[in-house]
Symmetry: D4
Subunit: 215 residues, 8 copies
């Protein structure tokens, strides 16, 4: 892995080790980078790993775990459990892969994860039936495509910080996630921090840093 | 008014007379067009008339009424009352001018108008306290800027058709109304027809045509 | 279908049962969701189902009908016929799949559907020969790609509400349907409600809600 | 005018002398450039000259004519009449200034100009009543804002070349003329050449070159 | 071909018969439409026909000619030769397919076509060596991708009308042809009419209508 | 204030009372809304209040404080001090108004605020000289216009959550804040939540909710 | 100037002292920053200073020079002359202010500047008459708005590096400089580095760094 | 290669021979063009050649070298070594192909190349450990995707000119490279010239022209 300068002290500096971003790299590069990292870090994680890539890198990485919906690879011991719970809410079933990316990342960081799937605003009673869980949450990740209205509604019901993840689910004027991205950035309710389209991993990292305060 | 070919039969063909669009015309042109029209149509209406323009055209148009918030000018008798009521819901106080443009247009067409102002989704209980009015509405116009999430939530509570009007209220990534426009087009709830940004007039005309069916 | 919270009361609340959106879901998820739904609803419908997905879900869903051009799957009895007719007009032959999505949806809702295909404005006499049908229509869906000018022309000839569906047909500066979307939103004729690019289903649902008034 | 290298042979090379573009130049620069040009060319023309600029440059340019709607300044003898007529059609009254820019340019080039104002597609009979004039035209300039649908309809009725000028008339999703620009570029009718938004001058120059063939 | 209302009088009205647009239609639809058309028109043309589609439709259309670079299919006698020559200039070799689409269309209309390939502005002497051909041309089509600067330079050297075709050739900030499209629309030289990105066919039709004047 | 339904329970539900958004409202409306709110809430705050508006509303609102750089109005007692400190870092001097909007909001919520102004990445040593403050921060707001690179660099040095505020400072290809917005959303460092362009208020509210956890 | 951390070592590190960016700062802030800077640096420069700002800051900054077309303020001795000449070419007269911003910056850095104004490609002979100057240049700055084609043509004639500055000159589809920006980024000729729209200052700084090599 | 007018004198005029752009050409066209060029130029280079194309053209081009990561083909003797070194810095491993395109181009031009891979700003110490190399560099190419912040940071540390190459690495709101492109254009540090997204070749050519000065 001469082509990669791994940032081995990132865990010390920011609280989490570096993570391999799986897009735009060859399976061979991914395997090599993970091998170098595992020699210095207790755990190594890689995101956006499609099944074909997993199949190719798996032989050379002993003990590699794969979370197929989340498209995450993981090497090493489970992280010691931490205090705190991340509540993840999705608008629709199609947002599941990104929500699972967030959920698995959160769990690998050692946090508890509460999954509330398919509570889109078109049937608001579904969301309202979880009103108490929302009001008591420590941090909430909202994952929504199409028009992404869920983030504003949840933020209006919650006292905790909201991490909003627009997804590229939809078609036509969703413009690959631009519509929910703009929706979330313009939320009329406060306390919403937005991450990149389809960035379930980043949402979980932000949630983890929020929960991490004072541990 | 030689420069304008007024569509005098529009009322016969589409049920409503032509309306003067006030932007990009000189006050003098507006006055002339309205004078010609009033000679052939019982009523004449003009939209997007700012106070300065009203002041200039008013002397030459006897009996001209002006609705300053709605920025509408009107000449002629009130339309005979029609059956049907248009419910208009706004997300915030700043959406008021566009909502009034819709409300005044609807009233001038002869319909009843029910105004539900400032029910944005950041405090969803405000909207839910009107749930019955929404469920029983005949047609609803939703006027919202910023992220425009209100349209989806209302559409999920209503059985009637929804006309959604994005407004240019907001700043930054609302991009002059692009954010609520995309939100409304991508609504995960069905039964939503979208009109142009800030087009309160057009929303009311569509609502009127919906109510008009079978009268 | 634990991952999906189906909105079983939607039919009561909004007049139509929930519909499965087929993009971004695995065939297995679609089949599971439809099985759960069919146990609670008399009819279940799924949209944007490509033939390969149909082939995979069909074995586990007894009595599943498939409309290949419309890309719609349907389970259950035909809806009882309702009063009212939806007139659907397309600009070109390539708009057919989206127009059929609207037509099949309308028919499954119980309405009559009148199909007027390939009446693009480049040969306006084709449209004018249907002028009477347009003038007498109850609600019209206009489906058009490329420049989408058809919506304005039809709206100028009709007294009823128009639902406009921009399609992604075209190339270059149509920007996947952005061109007809903007055209339809800026229509100089009134009474036009726009839905998302390629959203034939949504257009029909809006048309159905318009016809549904007072039934 | 040392800051400007005037292209004195342009008339020889392309058939028309250079024209001063009035935006982004100080009145003083405009006056100086016109003085230099008039010493070498029989005629000098400047476009996009607002009344305030005209007032400032007029004292130092003897015999300067000003066309206030078209915002054109002109110095020199009328051009000798040429064979050929440019037909100019506008969608609405607000498109008049750009249409006049085209009309005055065409007339200053020596061509006859036929003005057909306010024939937008919302009332298609207005256009159809000029069907013969359109069918017999030598070249047509269509000037339209909002959705710009007029260009396609005219092109479907005409045998001659069409020059389409989108205007920035409209609001909201017209995005300062982007909507009619895309409409015109995607015209389903053939024979349409598009120029820049609000470029009435350029449209007339193209029309003039088309008429000029073989004179 | 019940799904298609062919515009059989288009040739009479606009001088050219209708042409089948090959994108977004099934091979089966294309074949059917061409069969119906050929029964009423002496010639039938279809554009954007990729080799696989040609292979599928060819068996059912006797005498079908195919131009593989231009991706055009043609049925019927050659058009009688007309007076006039279309000069086509490309910026680079990669613009060839679109340039050929224009060239074949022009030839099928009966005009002479002069091909000047690969004269991009990065080596301006290549273009200048054709300065006389440009100065004497009757109508010029400029086909260019990447930055599309060629159109302005050619327009500055020519007295005749220029039809500019932006192509989607390029990558990155060419944004699928947006860059040359904007370049051509903003040309500082006059006499340029722009058509859609990659619309070689439309460019030739406009050129043909320009040449057609007075024949 | 009949036109405004104030969300009086917001403080209970989300921990903070509603805040008046000052854009798009008349001074008169703002004054009325604040008067109604102050009768029910101990504190009332309004944002985006330009000096002219302040001057007009100040007479009718006794005890109104104004923060001219932050453009915030405030009525009521200071909030009781809370545990926790918000560190705010700006890239340049021009980002100051938005940074002050965040700082004043944070202070009015009762938190301590640490201001680190003008530490743009063009002189990275300025930022590095605060490395310890960054490493020990509880939550950091990064305010940056132009290219917005500061957020990524800070996120790489910090263990705490980062709230990133793109500003509209810059010109040309900053496109009113689009450039730093995209930069911040694509941050290669994790733990960054983005709010709307120029939304200093929203950034502080999110930071406050992050600090609020467990108080 | 407590709000500004001036980067006093920038001259040592990068060869040029920091420069004050005049947009989005109050005249008072600009004056204060310049006073602090002048106490540590031999020269201080500020850009984008409109005349009104100059008038306000001038009394408190003794010896302040102002270049009104370039909108640059300068304090201190002239820089010692350096070897090397920057050739600046503009497309049109309206590009002059940005070109002067570049020219004055270059001169204040100590370089010679050669101004070639108004050589747009619409009259290519104007440019070709300077072919020798171009071929022998050390570094060239091309300043062009509208379609920006000049950069590619110059790059094809020159052996030296080209710095391209798109300007916001134009209207309609120039979209405030987006058109020439894309043109320059997609240049088919090599050796072109692009800076921000209207960034004459940045262009000169890059040219200066290029000339600076090995001095 | 009749379809290609090769610019054989380009080496004389600009210092480098023409290079074949491999996108949008058939393998057959590429092979033919290279054969013609090699008969007139000592060296021939082609870019953006994917492995499948290389395999097809290789048999007909004797001695063809292929650089698979850089996707460059090369025919001819190595260029004589020149004075000067290009330093290339990448933000991440995924930027490697574009960085190699630049590196191989630079080496084929005869320059030395120093590769500094994977120094993204998320771990700024990695970059700072190369501070001396950066301070002493002659010219630097920065290759970065996602948010592209690296260019500004490097420019703040360097005295030499910077060539910035945005890459399409990333997803969601990177919009295929738009995000880093805007970042680099808005760099708050001076001395940065930007080339097209993914244009490693163009970056190296600009760097080469910068180094070439005075050789
Ligand atoms: N506020 C408005 N928004 C959109 N369209 C309008 C508006 N007011 C009037 N119109 C339409 O604009 C047309 C009149 O345009 P004009 O001939 O320019 O006055 C009428 O047919 C109206 O239907
Ligand atoms: N209204 C206009 N729109 C577009 N181009 C124009 C316009 N008026 C003049 N021009 C062109 O701009 C060039 C002159 O630009 P300039 O040297 O800046 O005055 C002339 O060659 C004209 O062809
Ligand atoms: N500067 C601001 N930016 C974004 N949202 C704001 C701002 N100020 C207030 N708000 C939100 O806007 C809502 C009030 O909107 P309105 O009813 O129009 O006054 C409140 O719920 C606030 O959370
Ligand atoms: N006209 C300009 N365009 C772009 N950047 C500039 C300009 N003038 C100054 N700068 C840069 O802006 C920085 C100063 O920003 P500030 O601290 O806000 O004054 C300096 O580092 C300059 O390199
Ligand atoms: Mg669902
Ligand atoms: Mg409110
Ligand atoms: Mg057809
Ligand atoms: Mg009109
Ligand atoms: Mg070539
Ligand atoms: Mg500074
Ligand atoms: Mg000029
Ligand atoms: Mg890395």
């Amino acid at each position: 892995g001469d082509f990669a300068k791994i940032d081995h002290h990132r865990a010390l500096r920011t609280g989490f080790p570096e993570v391999v971003f799986g897009l735009g790299k060859t399976p061979c590069q991914i395997a090599q980078i993970m091998q170098v990292m595992v020699s210095k870090n207790p755990v190594v994680m890689a995101t956006k790993i499609v099944p074909e890539v997993y199949t190719q890198i798996q032989p050379s990485l002993r003990g590699l775990q794969y979370f197929p919906i989340a498209q995450i690879c993981y090497l090493g011991e489970s992280a010691p459990p931490k205090h705190g719970c991340i509540t993840i809410i999705t608008a629709g079933t199609a947002d599941l892969p990104i929500a699972e990316e967030a959920a698995v990342t959160g769990e690998l960081c050692g946090f508890q994860v509460k999954r509330l799937w398919d509570l889109g605003v078109a049937g608001i009673h579904r969301l309202l039936s979880h009103q108490e869980a929302i009001a008591n949450a420590e941090v909430i990740i909202v994952v929504a495509g199409m028009e992404g209205a869920l983030a504003s509604v949840v933020a209006g019901l919650a006292a905790c910080p909201i991490v909003a993840v627009p997804t590229s689910i939809g078609y036509g004027a969703s413009f690959q996630g631009l519509a929910p991205l703009l929706t979330m950035l313009n939320s009329c309710a406060t306390g919403v921090g937005v991450v990149n389209i389809d960035n379930g991993f980043g949402a979980a990292m932000l949630a983890a840093k929020i929960l991490n305060r004072g541990q």
